[in-house]
Amino acid sequence: MHGIAYDAIHDEFTVPQQFGQAILTYRGNANGEEPPIRVIQGVHSQLDAPEHLDVDPVHNEIFVPTRDGHILVFPRDGKGDVAPIRVLGGPNTMITGDAPLAVDPVNNLLVVGGTAGRGQTRLLIFNRTDSGDTKPKAAIGGPNSHLYSFGGPFAVYPQKGEILVSVRGPGPFAELASEEAFVGVWRITDNGDVPPRWVIGGPHGILRMPRGIALDVKHRNMLVSDKRLNAVLTFHFPEMF
């Protein structure tokens, strides 16, 4: 499971279920063996091996990437064998496969992870409502971006127009851990081979294999999961907010 989204407006959270090809939504305070309140699953859903997702609680949509490089958009309150209400994908999109994504409902943007030959990693920025084979409005990546490889799901902070990305590092043990790993912050207005505005927790910091990122805006904190540390770390990061 590589995605989870908490929807504060409707007080529920949503996760992908890869093996059963489903999207599951639970009550916000679900506990124990509680069944989901909604399940999207079935032939019309086109779900293949959903790992990532994000929820736009403002416009009531769920975004799910597929293995073959499409983004499926479902109604948030969809239930059962529902078809996506729109699909983004095709060669012009540069979306190459299941990758992290994040939706910015304030600035109406969709940020998708992409690769382009030789494993080059890029952040692709689309309009939130883009569909079909649409070119991204911006692509961040290149040697100076230091976007080596995505560690996990992104976070966005719409109020400041920021994109937070966990970046895996290289090294002889790159599959397991790297001292070069970090969390980087880019802006939604960035384009091209742009370095991050901020680096947190590395390179050569505490992070070894950063994965997910979440924001606690009230306390001005950034939370990061790290696979190698098998831990969740809370960084106080007031400069970002």
Binding site: P143, N144, P195, R211, K227, T234
Partner: protein, 450 residues
Amino acid sequence: MRHRAFSVGLPAALCMVAWLAMTGDTRPSGPLVSYDPLDEECTAPEPNPAPAALSLNAGALPLRTMLMQARIAEAQTPIQANDASRRKPERMIRDPYAAYSAVAVDPGHDEVVMTDENLFNIWVYDRSFGRAPSDRPELRRLIGGLNTKIEFQCGLYIDPANGDIYAVNNDTIDTLVIFSRGTSGDSKPDRELHTPHGTFGIAVDEEKQEMFLTVQHNNAIVVFPKSAKGAEAPIRVVQGDDTGLADPHGMALDTKRGLLWVTNHGSVHSVRQNPNRRRGGSPGFPLDRDDAVPGSGKMLPPSITVYAKDVRGNARPLRSIQGPHTRLNWPTGISIDEDRNEIFVANDGGNSVLVFDGNASGDAAPLRVIEGPRSLVKNPTGIFFDKKNHELWVTNFGNHTAGVYNPDASGDAAPLRVIRSAAPDQPVPGLGNPHPIAYDTRREQVLVPN
């Protein structure tokens, strides 16, 4: 036999060893599981070697790593950014103690071996501790560190002939690692085998020298020569809609009856050869996520499926155990008493050990259930029936323990002996490969799928 000094990757583990050695069951004064900053010694991350240039490692590194190295070399300048790289976290949720997952006994050397999915170690203890109240478990060897490629290890097999340790990594590194008996510290495996993504259980047919692995992600079983290494392909694959494999986990072989037993959590989808897959498949390997049939997913009740040990292809199971009377709930580890024809199941979600008749089928109730507070059974993931000593070992991911039981135990039976990595009242964060996280602003809680 090798004995190598610990060099990296073990600071937290050594903290625990020191505590065990010094205090036994006495509650330690320092924090065991902390939600606050931990002391430097117990939280220091493993030091990694400095990244080497691509040219130095060409041929020795995975492709993705080499590409990343090349991109770094292309970068003209160091990262020009506002630098919070050395910022320390204000808090960290991390369990500094072992969370035992898989277990196996080496009867020839009277040792018990356990994997640890929290600190990423293999722990080897004296099996027969506890003959006197003061007889503490003796840690004989500890294998861990980046060179070992040990991470989220969920399957374990000990070669009865020589004590070699076969340890299965789950979905973070597609490598089966094999260590010779006596290995300790941050040692490279004696042998490695590239596996499909998401292997879990392991069983070996010593007579035929075949090694079986379950593959969660592909709903498959792969069979390799026991001596396989490197990128060797499986000699046969069990996969398909008729197999009944559904998120398969544990596996056990009944050599007496020629049967292969598999526990299944229940989620499944169909796969078909996809001519348009974006990545090339590996010949001889099972179809994978790129071959998933969209919309074919199902979430079925958990089950145990039984096959002839020479099973291959899209074969139906000989029989299945499934239904509400079975009490199966995330059945994970499985082991067999061939003489009594009884099947032991670590029932993770049910906080219980289920014992089935070896002839059970359908919605069969277990013969016995071990569960309850005295039993210490809490999120059990590993189980091993020790035929020689007539003991049942159970590892509990949910409470830092491994317990030894009389195989006839039932109900809320206390274990005969316990190895524990933390004091009984310590919290268990339960983190296991945390990936995405979310913040619940209403309750000010962190949501962490594992």
